[in-house]
């Protein structure tokens, strides 16, 4: 009994899809049944095991102008062919093409639940953007490496559709190692069985690092972007300062519904009402569950130093204290969520013409 042939859909840009060069980069989507251009190399590599049922083609400019909508449009076209496996590109060093391939893979993978594979050169911006969402094979920087790239993509594709579980993993999964199939790490953490105990592995890694030998970290630390330092303020007596805190100080009852952990909300409180001179500690709550709140509740100025700044304003040291306090709670919130809140708060502060901020954290 013959095994059912896998159905494959392939995505290409206008150039590899044989529509035209940069002059045709604005063309919209089109579909051709069967393989096109490098799809022939893909077909050869797949042999009898799979059939390229359709090639979806789109201009690089058309695709990249509105990723959300174009990826949806592309998905609808792919869906029709009910593929078992999806390939895009490879894109090598071409940036817009790489982004389009990554975006198509992400959308198809998430919506159809099938393996999605593309190929890029390490400097392609598509790698950083999409390595978590698709298998991106490592390629050279030009289409001279087409056959090699396609062969690697197919080898991985056939492995992923083989249903062969990885026995070293604790969970039953088809999860081939990046180094074995030469793809960019998807930054996924999995538990696996090892020959050594963790203590031995740690020491081996540490010794390798100390000796300057190659080693591979199990967990890769995130890289945070550099923020250009704002210029120093020449004259404080002319500026308006605002107070912001992520210590979770809110009115009793937490009316704005901050979460104790993983909070993603922020809000503003008018200082005159919220933290008057004759404040009463019963009016407050610390919603942040990551630190012991007793000291701050005794005197909220220990977190939000309103009185101390007011003093400097009255002495003419600082121009003005902004009448609104910006409050949030930052306990185990993912850094991306923190950054999003930060961007929103900064936009609001900028809108209000604030010159400087004192941010207090636990």
């Amino acid at each position: 009994m013959t095994q059912k042939k896998l159905r494959v859909v392939h995505y290409l840009n206008q150039f590899f899809g044989q529509i035209g060069g940069e002059d045709k980069a604005d063309v919209g989507f089109s579909v051709q049944e069967g393989p096109v251009g490098p799809g022939m190399a893909l077909k050869n590599a797949l042999g009898d095991q799979a059939e390229i049922v359709a090639t979806v083609i789109c201009g690089d400019n058309y695709y990249s102008k509105d990723l959300d909508n174009t990826s949806k449009e592309g998905l609808e076209l792919v869906k029709k062919y009910e593929p078992d496996l999806f390939f895009a590109g490879p894109a090598f060093h071409a940036g817009r093409y790489g982004v389009a391939c990554g975006s198509m893979c992400k959308n198809v993978g998430e919506n159809l639940g099938i393996p999605v594979i593309t190929g890029m050169f390490e400097e392609n911006p598509g790698v950083n953007m999409y390595q978590k969402y698709a298998y991106i094979i490592k390629t050279g920087n030009s289409a001279r490496g087409m056959v090699e790239a396609v062969n690697k993509m197919v080898k991985l594709g056939l492995k992923l559709t083989s249903g062969e579980l990885n026995e070293h993993l604790v969970l039953d999964e088809v999860r081939p190692r990046p180094e074995e199939y030469d793809y960019f790490s998807r930054i996924i953490i999995r538990n696996e069985y090892t020959k050594q105990i963790t203590a031995e592995r740690c020491l081996d890694l540490l010794l390798a690092k100390i000796k300057g030998e190659p080693f591979e970290s199990d967990v890769v630390m995130p890289v945070f972007e550099r923020i250009e330092p704002p210029a120093a303020i020449p004259d404080l007596s002319k500026i308006e300062v605002a107070l912001v805190s992520d210590g979770g100080l809110v009115p009793k009852g937490n009316p704005d519904g901050f979460s104790g952990r993983g909070n993603l909300r922020w809000t503003t409180y008018e200082i005159e009402d919220f933290l008057p001179e004759d404040y009463s500690k019963v009016d407050y709550e610390i919603v942040h569950t990551g630190y012991f709140p007793v000291e701050v509740l005794e005197n909220p100025n220990r977190l939000v130093p309103v009185e101390a700044i007011r003093e400097q304003v009255s002495q003419g040291k600082v121009g003005k204290l902004h009448p609104t306090f910006f409050s949030t709670s930052g306990n185990a919130t993912v850094s991306r969520g923190c950054a999003e809140m930060g961007v929103e708060i900064a936009a609001e502060l900028k809108n209000r013409g604030i010159d400087a901020v004192i941010l207090t954290s636990t």
Binding site: F224, E225, P230, A232, Y291, V294, E311, S361, T362
Partner: protein, 70 residues
């Protein structure tokens, strides 16, 4: 912007440029064992140091303390 934090290495790691080490995690701009007057004095120092640092140029994430006078 100046951030006052009792865990300043986190602030530096994520790229905050002007970081002032605070007092403790549970009491970042104060000290509950001091008298009210002493504590007000301490808080005044934190605010003055913050204002001073807003007037200082930095090249990248820099950690300052209350007393280092840099």
């Amino acid at each position: 912007m100046i951030q006052i934090s009792a865990v300043p290495n986190v602030a530096q790691m994520v790229g905050v440029n002007r970081v002032l080490r605070g007092q403790t995690i549970t009491c970042v701009v104060g000290n509950s064992v001091l008298t009210r007057e002493q504590e007000d004095d301490l808080r005044r120092k934190y605010v003055l140091r913050s204002l001073e640092l807003l007037q200082k140029d930095v090249d990248g994430p820099t950690l300052f303390t209350l007393d280092d006078g840099s």
